[in-house]
Amino acid sequence: MKDWTIYIKPKRSLFQINIKEIWEFRDLIFMFIKRDIVTLYKQTILGPIWFFVQPVLTMLVYIFVFANIAKLSTDGLPESLFYLSGIIMWNYFAECFNQTSDTFSQNSQIFGKVYFPRLILPISKIFSGFIKFLIQSLLFYIVFFFYLITTDLLNPSSWILFSPLLVFLMAGFGLGFGLIFTSLTTKYRDLKFLIQFGVQLLMFATPIIYPLSSVEGKLRTIMNFNPFTHIFECFKFAFLGKGVNNIEGLIYSMIFMFIVLFLGVLIFNKTEKNFMDTV
């Protein structure tokens, strides 16, 4: 009889995700990204240089601890490059995950006062993380080209073309897990304590500080179930020419990612309606 443009009712179907609305608010995504980037290093002396300090220091510590003290293999690759590739990729995932996993608690102030599609915030975090990732990967490229020109240790392959997909997978995992966790922590805060060290444990279960080739037998089989394994191995194979790369593993990771992301969006969508009353 009459067209109502907005219909507010108690329950919403689980699968109703208003993509159109998110698109209408796309300028907001941009503004949030700008806010994240602009304000991150305001009133710091080094400013954007901090983007590089963190991965470089981490790399140095890894070289010292894992390569020199623990004597872990780097597959015959330059240590700095081996660690740096892992650190930067992992950082992107960790950034996406950490930033999105407290969407609700961090922004309850804004969420309590104004309406916009809540997914905007986590999405914007993925993009601001991506900008940080791009800047940090400059570091990787500098070291990469240095070794490519001065040594013949590296053997890049055409799989390099797949690297955007790998980054996309990391972003998807970060967002998916982040959405699940932020939804659950609004009500059960215990999970917050899990996040920090969970990310760390997951990192050690992923071939970042060691190559998959150094893992044998049963352990190897278990590690193949970790979807991140294939992403990192593929990345190293593509750029550095060493790594256990298989297309099945990558497809497995991709399916895994879509399931996590789908679940995440679903739970997030359900939580966003009433979280103001429980936060």
Binding site: T5, I8, K9, D27, R35, K113, Y115, D277
Partner: protein
Amino acid sequence: MSDKVLKVEDLSKIYRLGEIGTGTLSHDLNRWWASIRGMDDPYSNVGQVNDRSKKSTSDYVYALKDISFELNKGEVFGIIGKNGAGKSTLLKIISRITAPTKGYIKANGTIASLLEVGTGMHPEMTARENVYLNGAILGMRKFDIDRKFDSIIDFAGCNMFVDTPVKRFSSGMRVRLGFAVAAFLEPDILVVDEVLAVGDAEFQKKAVGKIQDISNEKGRTILFVSHNMHSVQNLCSKVCILDKGMLTYSGSVHQGIEKYIANSSFNMKNNLIERNDRIGSGRLLFDNWELIKDGNKVNLGITGSPLSIIFKISSHSKFSGISFSIGFFNASEGFLTACKSDAIQKVFDIEKGDNVLEFSFDKLPLSSGRYIFNLAAYNGSEILDWIKGAGSFDVENGDFYGSGILPAIGKQGVFVDYDWAKS
């Protein structure tokens, strides 16, 4: 055909009392089981009326219960009620910040809410950046803001500080900037919580004017919550009263405000002995008052007719040179006039014990409506007794000037004797 833009039907919202997180899992499971079987929320039956002052008997409470109303295009709808009556909850549901438990809302057009000014502003960013950020949060597109940017900055009055980080702004400036952004939003329905209470007088005037502009010229619908009856009266074309989560009145502004005042605890009895919110030394106390017209006790006055208020006073000691004062306020608590006895050179000697005093109008100068008065007694500079809102009474329209003409009918105010002449 009427232009309905908002339709709220049977809206209810239930809150759980007490701590969230203890024992909720079992309730969650129960709810989930009920919803799977397609049944109602099993806890919604136990909800009770939201009355802050009573101890709860159930774990769940109705913040809103069966609210229904409709708004047409261009209406300014005032929502009044005591603290905790559910006003903010209603606004939050309409602005989609939280979901209702039962019922639904249908709206035509876009809804923007201004529950707080400057939501999401970042102190490290400049005014310019914050205008864009805040605008985007409120749902404006970038090109929209580009177009309105200069007017926004103008309205906020901070042309000088466009590129200064907002953290260096005074809090008032921040509020102005926040409101300015919101004022240039162009939603079909604007939801405004009590945000006009901040800022200086000049800015408040500007803000109220802007809201009037929005509704009058642009034909937009506004929902407005306020405790300030004065701004409600100035802005709204329709009001509703929320009481303990229920809609107790919906209709004209004038009546609504009167009803609200009448229902509030501000409603006074003739007996003043039990009032303990009085100020003063207490050496002399007002005991009770009565409205008298032509020697008879009445309960309303008529404009232009005589009216007296007779007070009984009890005094602990003998006084001389006591002055009395009675101050009149309209229903929205706006001050009208004060009648001090010493101003007309009347001071009284008071005996120990009971005394009776009479205050009278030859011609009641108040137009129709409900009025409230304060009472005070002074011994020089000593306040003996002072009662805010000591009493209230209704006035019906009468012929003040004896000409049959009543100026400014429908508005609460005072009539004065005056003259016009041609020289």
